[in-house]
């Protein structure tokens, strides 16, 4: 990226939601998206926790971007990220013990989520605080949406519920495979198929419109 400040526009925010969606396009942060996306509630909590860490860390990194020496920047970013992860860890522990148990070690593992380190390195360290936070927020929302997309499908098919509410009545046959780890891979890959199908279709229609 060039040093000249990019004009603050809508794109800074939406790029994380669609064009550079961390999970569906950049394929980052797949570990938590596989591991804790077995229900919609877990996905939402994980997504929001990551968003909080992302926004906080990017704000701090952006503020300190002129102070951090280039040689030790990764270590500094990790310390900043770890600070926010600790906050989130205690927060979730205090708010809901069940959720804390369900997410398990994956809350602490937000530290090594490459979406966050990637944003800090690629965006926040090169931009002033306002665009950095907006971009981080967009990315976080994109991550949350992706986790929710995976988690809802897995919960609907695997338990017949959504956010714990029964959808199909008691005689629904749960598809046990979607609660198990393979189900996460199946659902993620099917979403990826859908996304690439939609993208290819759009390029094709754009090309057709261009030709005619």
């Amino acid at each position: 990226m060039t040093a000249q400040p990019k004009r603050l526009d809508w794109d800074t925010f939406t790029e994380g939601l669609w064009k550079e969606n961390p999970v569906f396009v950049m394929m980052l942060g797949l570990c938590p998206s596989m591991a804790v996306s077995n229900t919609a509630v877990n996905s939402l909590a994980m997504g929001l926790a990551s968003t909080f860490v992302l926004v906080g860390a990017c704000l701090l990194v952006s503020l300190l971007r002129k102070l951090i020496p280039k040689q030790v920047r990764i270590a500094s970013y990790i310390i900043i990220i770890a600070t926010f992860v600790t906050i989130v860890d205690y927060l979730i522990h205090a708010i809901s013990l069940d959720l804390y148990r369900a997410l398990g070690a994956f809350i602490q593992l937000i530290v090594v989520n490459c979406v966050i380190l990637g944003r800090a390195e690629a965006h926040a360290s090169k931009h002033p605080p306002v665009p950095a936070v907006i971009n981080a927020f967009g990315m976080g929302l994109g991550f949350t949406v992706a986790l929710l997309a995976i988690g809802s499908v897995r919960e609907i098919l695997g338990f017949g519920t959504l956010f714990g509410m029964s959808l199909f009545g008691p005689s629904f046959q749960p598809w046990a495979v979607f609660i198990l780890p393979p189900g996460g891979f199946f659902v993620l890959s099917l979403w990826l198929v859908l996304f690439s199908f939609a993208r290819r279709r759009r390029t094709r229609t754009l090309e057709a419109a261009h030709v005619s």
Binding site: S171, F172, Q173, W175, A176, V177, F186, S189
Partner: protein, 353 residues
Amino acid sequence: MSDALLQAELRTSPHVRGDLTVDKIMRHVVYALLPVCAWAVWQFGLSSLALLVVCTAVCLGTEQVVCRLSGRASTLGDWSVAITGLLLALSLPPGLPLWMAAVASVVAVAIGKSFFGGLGFNVMNPALVGRAFAQAAFTVPMTTWTPSQAAGRFTEFIPSSLTLPFLQPRSIEAWMDRVAPDGFTGATPLALMKFDHIPTDALPMLLGTITGSAGETSALLILLCGLYLVLRKMMDGRVVLAVLGSAFLLSGAFFLWNPDVYPDPVFTLFTGGMMLGAVFMATDMVASPETRWGVWIYGGLIGVLTVIIRLFGALNEGVMYAILLANAASPIIDNLTQPRIYGAVKTAEKKAV
């Protein structure tokens, strides 16, 4: 003279071709499967007929849809999808709700085959991918067995077959009381052996008058159908020999060691999906190795894994997972067993030189 030279047609090798095409082989495999299907229908009646029809139709339909979506010419004509459908149906329990069979068929063709690039590129046997998915998703219905040759099987369905989509299978208890009043436990010979140590006689297993998946019961019929294909040179008999031989040897060794605990080797060969798996699934041309030694290693791997899973695993049947694992390993096996190119120097000699 120069005219004759000009007329010569230049072609790359091979110059002499057999008349075996993919379509033809696949068509004959379907023919060979038909007697097995007929036996399945005779054994389990309307339900297994419906299972065969639904699986084949859904497989064909999925292939058609996928071909259209990916903008390729339809590949329905090469019969391979029909084989996938038939094999899948034969490997399912006869009373499985039809909607679950349809789901397994979609997974088999879409995920097991098309996602990898269609026929010739599938890493694993598509029918087994579908079955493995169904086993993981619907564990209880996939291990619910119904009595074979039940009274009235040609006039009524097994109640669970006709379950509405996405619902749990309908209860078959009332039906079971009617067709098998003397207390059918719902256990296959394998389950009886593994959990209760009750062996089954060899003859019913050979003829296939036992319970089990729709098409796996008659070992003799499957062997005969396989023999037809081997004689027509449309199937690799070495794979079958390697699978059955290694399973026989390993289970024989365990039997000799402790006959009270382990089943005899004949039992191992004639129960469960062993025959159907060895003859029709392990021999999948795409997913098995091609080299001379690779074929034997591959078949041996399947036999050994099956016996190990059956004797020491939590499941009583391991043919499916054994074949899937060996399928996944077959590219490596092929790589490790490349034949020496004619005239090439052996590695040891090369080092000496």
